[in-house]
């Protein structure tokens, strides 16, 4: 399998305003050669605007872009020629699959035999053999997205930009296409920048996740890190459920910190983040006990609701002070004979609490 050139992209203090509205403020990041970076955020967070600036379809109001260290800020989109995959596929309806994929090669003025060979290779690579002479309207959504991927990759662009490419697909197809994109990235080694609002997609695909909110970059780190060591409350709450505890009497100890919550003394080990008055714990790290456990942290609570989800069961609790708690417990590990209204304990190891 051919390995193609991959480029490094740099953004320095990129800002974008539409009139008085600041769509992006001071975005600085570097995307390394062959990296797979996901831009994640709710709608209106600026992630798509940032992608459009990378592509060259929008001009940044302030800041500078570089490609392998060369200034790119004022280079028009057609001169950047990054591969681009859109949510609605954006195929050319009047061209066959083959002609769609050949288009960027024709733009580059490649020879007919070269075009034929590469298009053939690409059609095989995305598993569209036998569909070459069909029009896009004769293909399923997944097949159309494969054509879009092949068309964006066939000319070995230095960077591939993907704008929520799978949000129109159903769940199964989406999983298949995610595997496909992961495989293409592994095989081709191109730099991928992928926009999504789906946090599980971002965690599953990327080498690093950049989280956007209200036009600012909140955190950029590997999936495990953004999930387990969120930089702030927005990131923590955006990436799945999290229990937020407003703690008091925080004091630093040799092995971490100590605090109290509703009269219970809590220990925080491993110092994730700087000590503050907000402690966060992921639902899957909390376990349910019928009596107070001997070790670790525990809060007395009342069981409010129980949702069976197959392998896991989601429990809704309320602490003595009516703070809502969510626990995600393996169904197999659930104590028997639980009833709504029962007095229980929510427990977690000291190294699973995060200061926000």
């Amino acid at each position: 399998m051919r390995k193609i050139k991959a480029a490094e992209i740099g953004a320095e203090a990129i800002g974008k305003s539409f009139g008085s509205f600041a769509a992006l403020t001071d975005i600085s990041l570097t995307i390394g050669r062959g990296e797979f970076v996901t831009l994640l955020g709710p709608s209106g967070s600026g992630k798509t605007t940032f992608l459009m600036i990378l592509a060259g379809f929008e001009a940044a109001t302030t800041g500078r872009l570089t490609l392998d260290g060369h200034d790119l800020t004022n280079t028009p989109a057609e001169a950047r020629a990054f591969g681009m995959v859109f949510q609605g596929y954006a195929l050319f309806p009047h061209m066959t699959v083959e002609q769609n994929i050949a288009f960027p090669l024709k733009v580059q003025g490649r020879t007919d035999s070269d075009i034929k060979r590469r298009v053939g290779e690409m059609v095989e690579m995305v598993g569209l053999g036998g569909h070459s002479h069909k029009r896009p309207s004769g293909l399923s959504g997944g097949q159309q997205q494969r054509v879009a991927l092949a068309r964006a990759l066939v000319y070995d662009p230095p960077v591939l930009l993907l704008d929520e490419p799978f949000s129109a697909l159903d769940k199964n197809l989406r999983g298949q296409m995610q595997d496909e994109v992961k495989r293409l990235h592994r095989e081709l080694g191109t730099t991928f920048v992928f926009v999504t609002h789906d946090q599980s997609e971002a965690l599953a695909l990327s080498s690093r996740v950049a989280i956007f909110d209200k036009g600012t970059l909140q955190q950029i780190a590997p999936p495990k890190e953004v999930y387990e060591r969120p930089a702030n409350r927005f990131v923590a709450e955006f990436l799945g459920d999290i229990n937020i505890l407003n703690i008091s009497d925080v004091s630093v100890t040799p092995d971490g910190a100590q605090a109290s919550f509703e009269g219970q003394s809590l220990r925080i080990a491993g110092m994730p983040g700087t000590p503050s008055r907000v402690l966060a714990v992921r639902p899957e790290y909390m376990s349910l006990c019928l009596t107070r456990p001997d070790t670790g942290n525990a809060i007395a609570a009342t069981l409010r609701d129980l949702t069976y989800l197959g392998a896991e069961t989601q429990l809704s609790l309320a602490s003595a002070g009516q703070v809502p708690l969510v626990l995600s417990v393996p169904t197999a590990a659930l104590p028997t004979g639980l009833t709504i209204g029962a007095s229980v304990w929510a427990a977690w190891p000291p190294d699973r609490g995060i200061f926000l």
């Binding site: 989109a77 020629a81 009047h94 960027p104 068309r151």
Partner: protein, 273 residues
């Protein structure tokens, strides 16, 4: 036998009106064409062999072809500005399309006459500016007819073109640019083919309309550039040759019908983009 839905009754007066005012007279014309002055297909034979009638048919076809080509190309550029221009451009173009559209065809033909005739505004200006020494003949010939017809038909071409252009997926154009295609290539190889159905629809509408044009050629052609519709008028109202007039009508009607059938087939809805 399936019974007609009750709602069909509601539209019955309209159908009755159409039958009474269009179908019955047309059947009358059809009868004249094969009975006057004597029964048989003699008038069709005359219509398709008389050099005068043939020259009118040829001129009609030629003028319609030129008008279609000119009106659709002009409308394409105007509509492009209408659909994709800045808000101010859109408003300006919209007014330029709609205001003439609301003015009667007769008024517009006389307007062009005032502008283009030998003692008209354009000739007078150019002569007093010293650009011309002799007036330039721009009416009472095919040029005048074409100008008047193109002007009248541009809005009819603009509407189908606009709906085709609005249906173009902006992202396909972005995708093409992103792959390195310059503006000219994006326009020629992506945008124009993506609006092909609109171009075809506009061309057929303009052509079909142009075939039956009467007022504009009569005024701006000044009796020299006679087209099929004017020929029918002359045969029925001025020389008592109703049979030939009727035969030419039927031929024109068939031509229009064939074009419309083609139009319906090509722009049938339900073709996914």
């Amino acid at each position: 036998m399936p019974t007609l839905p009750r709602s069909a009754l509601l539209i019955a007066p309209l159908i009755g009106f159409t039958v009474l005012t269009y179908l019955v007279p047309f059947l009358g014309i059809l009868r004249w064409s094969v009975t006057l002055p004597e029964p048989g297909l003699g008038q069709y034979q005359t219509a398709l062999s008389d050099p005068l009638v043939l020259s009118v048919f040829l001129r009609t076809l030629r003028i319609c072809a030129v008008v279609t080509l000119t009106a659709v190309s002009a409308a394409y550029m105007i509509t492009l500005l209408w659909v994709r221009g800045s808000p101010a451009q859109r408003l300006a173009v919209e007014l330029c399309i709609l205001i003439p559209f609301w003015i009667s065809v007769l008024t517009r033909a006389f307007g062009w006459l005032a502008l283009l005739s030998n003692k008209g505004i354009l000739n007078t200006w150019m002569q007093s500016l010293g650009i011309l020494s002799e007036p330039l003949t721009m009416v009472r010939n095919e040029f005048g007819v074409v100008v008047g017809m193109v002007h009248f038909l541009i809005p009819f071409a603009a509407f189908p073109l606009a709906s085709a252009m609005r249906a173009v997926d902006e992202r396909a154009l972005l995708a093409a640019r992103g792959m390195g295609a310059g503006r000219a290539r994006v326009f020629g190889q992506i945008f124009v083919p993506m609006t092909a159905s609109g171009i075809l629809g506009a061309a057929l509408v303009v052509f079909v309309f142009a075939l039956g044009f009467f007022v504009t050629p009569a005024i701006l052609g000044g009796g020299r550039s006679v087209m099929a519709a004017e020929l029918i008028y002359l045969r029925i109202f001025q020389s008592p040759d109703w049979g030939l007039g009727a035969a030419v009508s039927v031929i024109l009607m068939l031509a229009v019908g064939a074009m419309l059938a083609l139009l319906m087939r090509r722009v049938r809805p339900g073709r996914p983009q």
